[in-house]
């Protein structure tokens, strides 16, 4: 059965989503356990696959027994094996966290659909990660997008409908561009398989069709990852979504979109293309630095905790795109490490924000004065993950930025390396703002006492604290992670 794990990773969760619907129709309480079990099984399978890949090399699975280019294949190599393990770990953490948060935020009769869509979203993202066919990527992208549009609006708050609709419009433009790019690639080469495309494309690197395909795929996925000037959907969507959904889309979905972009830039097109033939890396590097600064500055200007973290995501996506722009071994190691690190720490921070909303009913910074007295564990977790966000050693955030800076030095981009440090300082600015309010803000000076709050339920605290500690442990034992990251970065650059 181990041979068939890649496809079971998608087929079983689809059936399980159906089971959630049927079981939920019978009794609503069945939904959550089925969802939890499925995602834990997926996580176990992902770990098994990752170990298999690190031992045996790339796994290729031909669906229907048809070899590409006729059929679709699933490809798991050291790069997406790593991403797969990361996203399923975070999905598992989120689903543990989701239970109480959903009970609070989602209407009882909507919970069945919520868990079905939650499951389908995770499945779609897993599909995007392991597919080796570029059109199949589009199909799974759409499964996850449609699930996301609805999940954002699933708390049925008026503003969330508007946020969701804006995301739907931009997301559909992005999907349209991606479809157009795929079409152009198909016209130029006649195949849809990624490995096949990588073989056939160099012959037609000079064609305008290929350049256009690249541009459209780049713009499309940039909208999906909320790369700086195309980020307009992100703050509203992250702020208005229910807490559990925010955690899932800010960690898992954002990372999978970044993965897809990396996959297309480095595997379908190669470094040779993006550096020599159609030199965009310098431009991406420039925009990435602008994103880092602008995202952080905008984050400092916010008055709402969730919105602040959302803008911080834009800044952090800049770091990952920075790695794409530098495109050498060290920087890519840093970028991949940051994919993991940012997922862990942003997941933790959004979990804290969700917990504060769960207890206090608000995430306005002005209402959170002295919250550390009533919710000490949450605020400690926030401080730890925030330290990682700033990049204080020995956290994972420090390690990833360290590798990014090393990579930038190696490429001779001194100025850009300096921008990374400025970004860290700005991150300190917005993280410190919350810390100051939570620990040193005195709520007695206000006439209006905040709602009496206490620490959240255990099922929400455990994943949050685990992620916070993970920020620290991953930084200390970074060599273990590098075992997986190094071959992945080498693979992206075209090595074995």
């Amino acid at each position: 059965m181990i041979d068939h794990l890649p496809v079971l990773l998608i087929a079983v969760p689809i059936l399980s989503a159906l089971l959630i619907l049927l079981a939920g129709w019978y009794d609503r309480r069945f939904c959550y356990p089925i969802s939890l079990i499925t995602i834990l099984l997926q996580f176990g399978a992902a770990i098994a696959i990752l170990l298999e890949v690190m031992r045996e090399g790339t796994i290729r699975y031909h669906l229907g027994g048809w070899a590409p280019p006729l059929g679709i294949e699933l490809v798991i190599d050291s790069f997406n094996g790593f991403i797969l393990a990361v996203i399923l770990f975070l999905s598992a953490a989120t689903v543990v966290y989701a239970r109480r948060s959903v009970e609070k935020e989602i209407d009882p009769e909507k919970r069945i659909s919520f868990y079905v869509l939650f499951q389908l979203l995770v499945t779609g993202l897993v599909g995007m990660t392991i597919t080796g066919d570029i059109f199949n990527l589009y199909v799974f992208l759409e499964i996850s997008s449609i699930a996301t549009y609805t999940l954002i609006a699933s708390a049925r708050r008026p503003r969330s409908y508007v946020a969701s609709f804006n995301y739907l419009v931009l997301g559909s433009i992005a999907a349209g561009f991606i479809l157009l790019g795929i079409g152009n690639l198909y016209v130029a080469t006649g195949t849809l398989n990624m490995a096949d495309l990588a073989l056939l494309l160099p012959a037609s690197y000079g064609l305008a069709t290929v350049h256009t395909a690249f541009l459209f795929l780049l713009i499309g996925f940039s909208i999906k990852v909320a790369f700086f000037p195309l980020h307009l959907w992100l703050p509203d969507a992250y702020t208005e979504a229910p807490s559990a959904v925010t955690v899932l889309i800010s960690t898992v979905m954002a990372k999978v979109s970044v993965y897809a972009l990396f996959r297309i830039v480095f595997t379908v097109f190669t470094t040779a293309y993006v550096i020599d033939t159609f030199a965009v890396t310098g431009f991406i590097l420039f925009i990435a630095t602008v994103a880092i600064i602008a995202g952080a500055v905008l984050a400092i200007a916010q008055n709402d905790l969730k919105r602040m973290l959302a803008y911080s995501s834009i800044s952090q996506i800049g770091y990952i795109m920075f790695a794409l722009g530098v495109a050498n071994q060290l920087a890519l190691e840093g970028g991949l490490l940051h994919i993991l690190g940012h997922a862990v720490m942003k997941g933790c921070l959004f979990m804290v924000a969700g917990l504060i909303i769960y207890r206090m009913g608000t995430s306005q910074l002005s209402d959170l004065k002295g919250v550390a007295k009533t919710m000490p564990i949450s605020c400690a977790a926030f401080a730890l993950a925030g330290a990682s966000m700033i990049g204080i050693p020995p956290t994972i955030g420090f390690m990833s930025k360290y590798y990014l800076v090393l990579g930038a030095f190696e490429a001779g981009q001194w100025i850009y390396a300096a921008v990374l440090l400025v970004g860290s300082l700005l991150a300190a600015g917005y993280i410190w703002r919350f810390i100051e309010i939570a620990y040193f803000g005195d709520h007695h000076s206000e006439d209006r006492r905040p709602a009496p709050a206490r620490e959240g339920p255990v099922s929400m605290l455990v994943p949050m604290v685990a992620l916070a500690l993970l920020c620290l442990f991953l930084g200390v034992f970074v060599e273990v992670v590098m075992e997986a990251v190094r071959p992945a970065a080498m693979l992206l650059l075209g090595g074995a």
Binding site: V139, Y149, R159, F165, S172, I173, A175, Y186, V187
Partner: protein, 125 residues
């Protein structure tokens, strides 16, 4: 001159048609204030992309990709884009359905389907 014109425009008129439709759709999607009109723009945009796919599947003198009886010598058009577009159409329908239901909810909550008015109402609350 005429040859260049033929090369660029007449022999590739299908792409021009698709592109013009695409741009019309994109413009409507971005510039129109009415949310329903935005979705109509989205549909035009998507349909133009479908048209683009289907038109590059065409082969001069080809017939639909269904085998003719044995012995008949036939040239078939490229079947793959048809398959892809069948998938993409369904995706388009799904997105439209979700978008329309969001518009229904927005209209129920705020009583407007005009983007500028909507922004005013949302800020006002």
């Amino acid at each position: 001159m005429i040859e260049a014109f033929y090369e660029l425009f007449l022999s590739r008129y299908n792409y021009w048609m698709a592109i013009i439709l695409m741009l019309i759709g994109l413009y409507a999607l971005i510039a129109k204030q009415n949310l329903v009109k935005k979705l109509i723009g989205l549909n035009i945009f998507q349909t133009a992309i479908f048209l683009f796919y289907i038109s590059f599947a065409e082969v001069q003198g080809g017939t639909a990709p269904i085998y003719l009886p044995e012995g008949v010598d036939a040239l078939y058009v490229n079947p793959l884009p048809h398959v892809l577009i069948l998938t993409a159409i369904v995706v388009g329908v799904s997105v439209t359905a979700v978008g329309l239901s969001l518009i229904v909810r927005i209209y129920e909550e705020y009583g407007v389907i005009d983007e500028d008015d909507l922004m005013q109402v949302v800020r006002g609350r």
